[in-house]
């Protein structure tokens, strides 16, 4: 390995050799194992210029390059994880050379070994639940049609009223009332959706070895801008029960109006390799 190469690390696993031949890395390079049968890093040699700090930062800031690199990184991890307990490493973990990777393995051997044992025979599923704001708020359309009657109480005193006439609210007051009712309905609707997301997460957690909630995804990335993501969960389940988990999760919102559920997986255990017990 010359001065112009660096070592990109994908994952830490056990005894990886036989499964690696099919994977190509982020630079199209063949992927190999560094370490021993008990604990090994899955890595590839990449061009230090193309994957140096400045270059990498620039490339990862380009949406197309980021996508290509992220997918390549993920693909290697997926191939390894399909056959071995696997700790995925975060994108852009790059070392100067293989010796630095060996030092890492030596230094954190016990911790990595524990985590691999814990992950062995288990896999991750993702479950996302969206709530339809219109259904949650009881139908915005009615309010948009100008039916201000739904304002709770309708007490003009609450907003200062219009004592001069003593008659119904003025246009401005009516607007404020309508606006407040909309906001209240929205808040209530969100509460309703979020509560259901909470319940689903709890129920799925009981079927899983471990469960984590992630932040809702940016709607600009998911393309679903019409729904509220009320659950973005990850669940570690025994591999033998994966199908069952996915089926149970998929049925979680059947019969519930206004909810949509999406199961993804099996995934490498990304969400359960985040510094467990540290």
């Amino acid at each position: 390995m010359g001065d112009n190469s660096a070592t990109w690390v994908y994952a830490v696993t056990r005894d990886p050799d036989p499964v690696l031949l099919r994977a190509a890395g982020v630079g199209g390079e063949p992927v190999r194992a560094i370490g021993d049968a008990e604990l090994a890093a899955v890595a590839g040699s990449v061009d230090a210029n193309a994957f140096g700090e400045a270059a990498l930062e620039r490339r990862l800031s380009d949406p197309d390059e980021l996508e290509a690199i992220a997918r390549a990184h993920h693909q290697v991890i997926e191939v390894v994880a399909a056959a071995r307990p696997t700790l995925p490493l975060r994108l852009a973990t790059v070392y100067r050379d293989d010796d630095r990777v060996r030092a890492l393995l030596t230094q954190r051997r016990a911790e990595f070994g524990d985590m691999l044992r814990w992950l062995d025979g288990r896999t991750e599923y993702g479950v996302k639940v969206w709530a339809d704001p219109e259904v949650m708020t009881g139908g915005d359309k009615q309010e948009q049609a100008g039916q201000t009657m739904q304002v709770p109480g309708g007490r003009s005193a609450d907003v200062g009223g219009d004592g001069a006439t003593g008659r119904g609210p003025t246009a401005g007051t009516a607007y404020l009332l309508r606006r407040r009712a909309n906001l209240t309905a929205r808040a209530d609707g969100w509460q309703h959706g979020a509560a259901r997301g909470e319940e689903i997460h709890a129920a799925l957690g009981r079927l899983a070895v471990a469960a984590r909630r992630h932040a809702p995804q940016d709607p600009r990335l998911t393309g679903n801008e019409d729904g509220w993501m009320v659950l973005n969960g990850a669940y570690l389940v025994d591999s033998g029960r994966g199908q069952e988990f996915a089926a149970t999760a998929g049925a979680m919102v059947s019969g519930l109006a206004g909810f949509q559920l999406d199961v993804t997986g099996p995934w490498p255990a990304y969400s359960f390799s985040v510094g467990r017990d540290q």
């Binding site: 660096a6 690390v9 994957f51 700090e53 990498l56 930062e57 990862l60 800031s61 380009d62 949406p63 980021l66 996508e67 992220a70 997918r71 990184h73 993920h74 700790l87 995925p88 490493l89 975060r90 994108l91 852009a92 973990t93 790059v94 070392y95 100067r96 630095r100 890492l104 954190r108 993702g126 339809d132 219109e134 259904v135 139908g139 984590r212 992630h214 995804q217 940016d218 600009r220 990335l221 998911t222 729904g227 998929g250 059947s254 019969g255 519930l256 109006a257 206004g258 949509q260 559920l261 999406d262 199961v263 993804t264 997986g265 995934w267 990304y270 969400s271 390799s273 985040v274 510094g275």
Partner: protein
Amino acid sequence: MTQPWSSAPRAPGRPEPANLADILERVLDKGIVVAGDIRVNLLDIELLTIRLRLLIASVDRAREMGIDWWEHDPTLSSGKGGLADENRRLRERIGELETVADGGGDTRARATPANREVADPAGRQIRTRRSRPGQDNDG
């Protein structure tokens, strides 16, 4: 109540698990963090990428939603300089007003540095965040 959405799992059509948002969420934000020899702050990258993607994919859609910050973001609107222009106009206007109020004097010199700071918010912000120590391991 009608059901605008099916409550069944989403219709197929998305290969699983190939959704880019799902992959980015995991490779950028999950997984073991170790101190490699190269440091790249992925939080910044994700932010920037979302911005760029938004810009490329759906400028019109974003405008409809009232999202138009990129037009004021010097890192993304090089050449247009909308914010810089606006700052310059405001500086001139402030200068004029202060000249009138104070009956003269070199108040313009005072107004200038503060406005110059405003002219470069995004770049500064990104640089600041990059220098933050730690590994964003917030599981």
